[in-house]
C-alpha cells in the first residue's frame, strides 16, 4: 500500500494511546463483545485513512462517530441491536447482582452509555459530555434517570 514506516509507527502509537477509550465508548453501548468489534472496525477506518485522520483536531471523536454510524446505519441488520453485558461468571469476578446486566440492557441506549461510562469505567462528566457532544447537565440527567431505574430494578435504595 506504500504506507511509510513512520506512519505505521505513528498509527501504532495512536492505537496504544486511544484504543481503550474507543473500546469503552462502544462497550458502554453494546457490551464487551460487540463493543470491541465496533472499535476494531472504527480503528480499521482510521488505519485506511490515516493520512486524513491524523491531521484532525479530534481523531478519537471522529472515529467514535464512524463506529457509531456504521453500527447503526446497517439496513441489513434486521434484528434490533441488543446490548449484551456479562454475568458475574466466577469467583474471580468482582461481585454484582446477576440481574444488573439485564437491567442495563433494558435502559435506553443513551442512559446505558452514560451510566456505564460514568460508573463502570469511571469517566468524568466532562469526558462523557465531550464524547456524546451534550452538556454536562444533560449527562447528569441521563445518569440520574439510569441509576433510578437500576435501583428500582434491583430493589435497593442506594
Amino acid at each position: 500500500m506504500g504506507r511509510r514506516e513512520a506512519d505505521d509507527t505513528e498509527f501504532a502509537d495512536f492505537v496504544a494511546a486511544h484504543e481503550k477509550r474507543l473500546r469503552q465508548a462502544f462497550t458502554s453501548m453494546w457490551g464487551p463483545d460487540r463493543g470491541r468489534e465496533i472499535a476494531i472496525d472504527a480503528l480499521s477506518h482510521g488505519w485506511e485513512n490515516w493520512d486524513r485522520v491524523r491531521s484532525m483536531d479530534n481523531p478519537v471523536g471522529y472515529l467514535y462517530v464512524v463506529g457509531r454510524e456504521r453500527s447503526s446505519r446497517n439496513r441489513w441488520r434486521r434484528e434490533q441491536p441488543v446490548a449484551d453485558f456479562p454475568l458475574p461468571s466466577d469467583s474471580r469476578s468482582p461481585w454484582y447482582e446477576p440481574a444488573l446486566p439485564a437491567l442495563l440492557e433494558n435502559l435506553s441506549e443513551r442512559e446505558r452509555q452514560v451510566v456505564v461510562l460514568l460508573h463502570a469505567f469511571e469517566w468524568s462528566l466532562s469526558e462523557v459530555a465531550e464524547l456524546l457532544e451534550v452538556s454536562k447537565s444533560a449527562i447528569q440527567t441521563y445518569a440520574d434517570r439510569a441509576l433510578m431505574k437500576l435501583r428500582s430494578g434491583l430493589g435497593v435504595r442506594s
Binding site: E19, N49, P86, R92, S93, Y96, L104, F121, V156
Partner: protein, 250 residues
C-alpha cells in the same frame, strides 16, 4: 452494596476479560475484509450473475486471511460489521491498482489468469436505451434488481457513474464498485420480495423515488429519497435514500 459499586464491579469484570485492541487486530480485520472482497470478485468473475440464491446466512470465503489455514465462514452479523470496512479495503485496492497498475495479491481479484473480467451485457441495445426517459431508466433498474440480473443492472451505469450515501459502501464510482455494491446487496437480502419503487418523480434529468420491500418474516426494507441523475439512458449518479431502515418504514 450500592448500584454505583456494582457498576464498578461490572466495569472491572469487563476490563479483566476484554482484550486490548492491537494493530495486528486492526490489520487482521482489514485482511478479512480484503478476503471478503476477493471472494466477492471471484464470484463476480466465475458466476455469471455474481451470487446464487443460496448465499444468505453464511458465505464460505475461500481466500484465507494471513493467520488462517482454511476457508473462513462468515456469519451474516460478522459480515455486516465489516461491510463498511469492505468499501475501504475495496476502494483502496482499486485506487492503488488503477494508479500504479499494481497486480499484487492485495489488489488483484482472486481469478486465474485464464479468467477474463466479465463484460457488462446490455439489457437493451444502445439506441433503445438512449431513448428511454429518466423515469423509464429507473423502472428498468427496478426490473433488473428484481430479476437479480446483475449484468442488466450494470448496463444502466457507466464507468463514470457515481454513488453516494450507501449504508455499507458509502461513496464510490465505476462499474466494478457498482457491481460489487449490488452483488453484496443481493446476497444479503435474498429472502426479500421484489422491490417496489414508490413516489417516483422526475424533474429534468433527476429522478427521485422511495423503495419498499418485505420478506416472509414481515421484515421491511425501505428507503425514502433515492435520487439519480440520468442521461442518455444511463444512471450518471445515484444518491442512496437518506432515510432508510425500519424506523422509516413504520
Amino acid at each position: 452494596m450500592t448500584v454505583e459499586t456494582q457498576l464498578r464491579a461490572l466495569g472491572a469484570h469487563i476490563d479483566r476479560d476484554q482484550r486490548s485492541i492491537t494493530v495486528d487486530d486492526i490489520r487482521r480485520s482489514a485482511s478479512l475484509a480484503d478476503s471478503v472482497v476477493e471472494d466477492l470478485q471471484f464470484r463476480l468473475t466465475t458466476e455469471p450473475n455474481g451470487f446464487d440464491e443460496g448465499v444468505d446466512h453464511e458465505m464460505q470465503v475461500g481466500v484465507p486471511a494471513p493467520d488462517q489455514t482454511a476457508g473462513i465462514t462468515f456469519r451474516r452479523t460478522s459480515l455486516l460489521l465489516t461491510a463498511a470496512a469492505i468499501l475501504l479495503a475495496f476502494v483502496a485496492g482499486l485506487v492503488v491498482a488503477n494508479e500504479s497498475g499494481d497486480d499484487s495479491p492485495a489488489t488483484r481479484p482472486a481469478t486465474t489468469s485464464t479468467e477474463a473480467e466479465p463484460q457488462p451485457a446490455p439489457s437493451l441495445d444502445a439506441e433503445a436505451e438512449a431513448s428511454l426517459s429518466p423515469a423509464e431508466v429507473i423502472e428498468e433498474y427496478r426490473e433488473a434488481l428484481n430479476a437479480k440480473d446483475l449484468d442488466a443492472v450494470i448496463a444502466l451505469f457507466t464507468e463514470e457513474s457515481t454513488f453516494s450515501g450507501h449504508p455499507a459502501m458509502y461513496d464510490g464510482s465505476g462499474l466494478t464498485s457498482i457491481r460489487a455494491l449490488h452483488a453484496i446487496d443481493t446476497a444479503m437480502t435474498t429472502d426479500f420480495d421484489a422491490y417496489e419503487f414508490r413516489n417516483v418523480e422526475t424533474i429534468g434529468n433527476t429522478v427521485t423515488w422511495d423503495h419498499h420491500r418485505t420478506n416472509a418474516d414481515g421484515d421491511v426494507d425501505c428507503g425514502e429519497g433515492h435520487r439519480a441523475v440520468v442521461d442518455d439512458g444511463k444512471i450518471l449518479s445515484w444518491t442512496y435514500a437518506p432515510q432508510f431502515g425500519e424506523e422509516t418504514c413504520r
